[in-house]
């Protein structure tokens, strides 16, 4: 089982034996179900690096489509060293620590404006971060005495968000995007960050944070935001991040590195 040892850098999928490379796959091809379609399914599997591959299930869906389940051994190797991940580069603080940090460092409450922008009406995620109720046993930002939360709710237009941030003198703007069909979340986020760069001078632009279950946390640059949070984010992580990037406290900066 050496393959399971974390000191091994090269790994392969594991079915029931180290190195067997076995994976399961399912997909639909726009072909009527016949031997040719099964051959086409195998061709795809081979192109994906599955060899040997077996079509273990094929079912006609109407006359034009066939659904396949394919099992097989992938020949690719995974090099764990090449994996880049956005590791947490700030210390996790308790609500108490957050509040004192803000008191000491900012000498005024931190203002956070939150919203679901575009046509997205999925507020449960942003509410999990902002509402007192919180998420995963952690209270939301409203619970922090030193954080002032303005939650604009769902389907907020970008201009309204910019305006509200200006009025509220937001230190940070928290935006949620859950609907991803046709990359709606990416389009909306880019539109949002552009509008903020437009509306604020570099040094007075609020910190831009987006989140949602389908974001790639490594895309900050592409999307023009300061931070991206993915699925399972907890309020504490967000609060700690905000402190580390908005509150000039050497002590904390040190911890961060």
């Amino acid at each position: 089982m050496s393959g399971s040892k974390t000191d091994k850098h090269i790994v392969r999928p594991y079915g029931d034996t180290t190195g067997d490379g076995m994976v399961q796959m399912s997909f639909t091809l726009p072909l009527p179900h016949d031997k040719r379609a099964e051959g086409a399914a195998l061709q795809l599997a081979k192109k994906m690096g599955m060899d040997p591959a077996m079509v273990v299930h094929a079912k006609a869906m109407g006359t034009d489509f066939t659904f396949f389940v394919v099992y097989g051994a992938v020949q690719h190797l995974v090099d764990v060293r090449e994996v880049q991940v956005v590791e947490r580069d700030y210390p996790l603080l308790s609500p108490k620590e957050v509040n004192t940090a803000i008191k000491k460092g900012l000498r005024r409450p931190m203002v956070v404006v939150g919203a679901c922008i575009g046509t997205d009406a999925h507020t449960v995620g942003i509410d999990a971060i902002l509402n007192i109720k919180g998420f995963a046993g952690e209270k939301g930002l409203e619970y922090y005495s030193e954080v002032t939360v303005v939650n604009l709710g769902a389907q907020v237009s970008v201009p309204d968000l910019v305006e509200a941030s200006r009025v509220a003198k937001a230190d940070a703007v928290l935006v949620s995007q859950v609907v991803t069909q046709r990359d709606a979340h990416l389009h909306n986020t880019r539109e949002m960050s552009a509008a903020f760069r437009e509306a604020f001078p570099r040094d007075r632009r609020p910190l831009l944070v987006v989140g949602g279950p389908r974001f790639d946390e490594a895309m900050t640059a592409e999307l023009g935001v300061d931070r991206i949070f993915g699925k399972g984010t907890t309020p504490g992580e967000v609060a700690s991040y905000l402190v580390s990037s908005l509150v000039p406290t050497p002590s904390i900066r040190k911890k961060a590195v």
């Binding site: 399912s26 997909f27 639909t28 079912k59 869906m61 109407g62 034009d64 489509f65 659904f67 575009g118 046509t119 997205d120 009406a121 507020t123 449960v124 709710g153 769902a154 389907q155 609907v179 069909q181 046709r182 709606a184 279950p213």
Partner: protein, 531 residues
């Protein structure tokens, strides 16, 4: 539909749950008392959308170059010139009489600023009202004709057995939707719902024409309705089975979409008396006025409504908030019947949304589902699958959907919304629907009759839970009656959403009626008249 088609003497849920008839009666009368003031409010107001719906029934179609529908342009001009408190009909038909133009021409001229509207008095007024009624009644008769056409087809093909299998398509492109809907029907779907593009419910107009560019759904337009209904008529013929079509009314354009649904023979509509308020932050008064008119149209069109209680459980906890679902069902029932809908048209919503990992979660679901079945024996009920607790583990999801299907079978649900294993991942794929239907087929064929062996004891876990929920519902209704429904909504009673009566989208579209208010459409609907 015959009486009580969903239960038999042997499995009468009221008996098994040992529900107290007095409590049930009390719950209904409390719902009536909570709803009555809101109905009064609804009768005192009209909205831009009600007036636009009236014009649509009169046959006004099409849009200007920017795609703004003529009904919007016309209502806006009338409002700005003479206000809407008298309704749009008299001023518009008065203008038509004076100019001799037809409706579309008047609308176009109005948009161009070349018509002067007035609120005529005496003879002129009654003449205008009369002409309006003649033209609008033609639209109402078209709705009647569509209902007759549906009845004819059902008479020919018969109705599918209960529950009806309800499937969603949501590609965003009507031309992808059609073949997918037909494929789903061939695989066994009895009802096809085309999900709306996100955000449409916040548009204060109904887009025009066939559309290919929705987000996570396809725009609800008259053209799309017509295309999809035609595609399904074709498939119904091929299958010898009438395949029903569903879309969404709730939103800023409830009345208009209801009118279009009636004109294009949709068979069901998502129509909730409070969904727009709670989940789309639409002004409460606007919503209550709109939902009443829209439901009168649905009643006339023989359309089955689906209410949205299931949504509460996506924001609130399904166990803690179980009684809010019951309360909302009772309110939806009251508003629906007041608007003329009958029991067989009430697809009251509820859902399988309890955290699957809590002990006895499945039995709790059964308790809640049986309670709904017991309270509304003659309503089909819309049984929604797990969504909130679905994850990327599609295998687990497929299993949960199987138990959801089993709960539907054990409790005699009438409309079964088919759950998708990819709920937490993507909008349904073709193969997701195919697998989902296979799941439904297995469960109902292999275990559907297990209902005969399912006999919760009156003193058992399930019955006790059901009685507890009913008790909490009655208590909550008591508070609502004291506090008024509008305040209860403002206080976040439903789905944890707080919605004050004087805020929310579309408020500006609400107008208090004057004593001279005329709306031939409302009259025809209230009277049940055809001319």
């Amino acid at each position: 539909m015959s009486r009580s088609p969903y239960t038999t003497a042997a499995n009468d849920p009221r008996r098994m749950l040992d529900l107290d008839p007095v409590t049930i009666r009390k719950a209904r009368s409390l719902a009536r008392r909570a709803g009555a003031p809101v109905v009064k409010l609804a009768k005192q107001h009209t909205t831009v959308s009600v007036e636009r719906a009236t014009l649509r029934l009169a046959g006004l179609e099409g849009a200007d170059v920017e795609g703004i529908p003529w009904v919007n342009r016309l209502v806006d001009v009338v409002r700005e010139q003479v206000g809407l408190e008298h309704g749009v009909s008299v001023p518009v038909w008065d203008a038509m009489i004076r100019t001799g133009d037809d409706l579309t021409t008047v609308a176009q001229k109005a948009a161009a600023g070349s018509v002067q509207f007035r609120v005529p008095e005496g003879k002129a007024a009654s003449a205008a009202a009369k002409r309006a009624r003649v033209q609008i009644s033609a639209g109402i008769r078209r709705v009647d004709a569509q209902r007759a056409a549906r009845d004819k087809l059902i008479g020919k093909y018969g109705n599918p057995p209960s529950p009806w299998i309800y499937l969603i398509v949501a590609t965003g492109d009507i031309y992808e939707d059609m073949p997918q809907a037909q494929a789903a029907a061939r695989e066994g779907a009895d009802v096809i719902a085309v999900i709306r593009s996100t955000g449409q419910s916040l548009l204060d107009y109904v887009p025009e024409g066939p559309t290919r560019e929705g987000y996570a759904g396809t725009y609800a337009t008259q053209a799309n309705f017509r295309l999809m209904r035609a595609a399904l008529d074709e498939t119904s013929k091929e299958l010898g089975r009438y395949v029903r079509l569903t879309n969404y009314a709730s939103g800023l354009c409830m009345p208009e979409i209801a009118a279009l649904a009636g004109l294009e023979r949709l068979d069901m509509m998502l129509n909730d008396s409070m969904y727009g308020i709670l989940f789309r932050d639409i002004n409460p008064v606007r919503t209550f006025v709109d939902q009443r008119f829209s439901r009168q149209v649905h009643a006339r069109a023989g359309i089955i409504i689906n209410t949205g209680e299931d949504n509460y459980l996506t924001t609130a906890d399904a166990v803690d908030a179980a009684h809010t679902v019951t309360v909302s069902q009772l309110l939806n029932e009251f508003f629906a019947k007041e608007a003329g809908l009958q029991d067989w048209q009430l697809g009251l919503g509820h859902a399988f949304e309890i955290v699957p990992e809590i002990p006895d979660s499945f039995r709790l679901e059964l308790a809640h589902a049986m309670l709904a079945r017991a309270l509304f024996p003659d309503a089909p009920l819309k049984w929604m699958p797990p969504t909130k607790h679905m994850t990327g583990d599609v295998f687990r999801g497929y299993l949960l959907d199987g138990f959801f299907n089993l709960a539907g079978a054990l409790t005699g649900q009438g409309i079964l919304l088919v759950g998708m294993m990819t709920e937490a991942v993507v909008t349904p794929w073709l193969s997701d629907r195919d697998l989902a239907l296979q799941n439904v087929r297995y469960v109902f064929n292999a275990a559907g009759n297990l209902r005969e062996d399912f006999r919760p004891a009156p003193d058992g876990f399930i019955a006790q839970r059901a009685r507890q929920v009913l008790g909490e519902a009655v208590d909550l209704l008591d508070d609502i009656v004291d506090d008024t429904l509008l305040n209860a909504i403002a206080d976040g009673t439903f789905g944890l959403m707080t919605r004050p009566a004087d805020a929310g989208r579309g408020l500006e579209g609400v107008v208090r009626k004057s004593s001279a208010y005329v709306n031939p459409a409302s009259d025809l609907l209230e009277e049940g008249a055809t001319r």
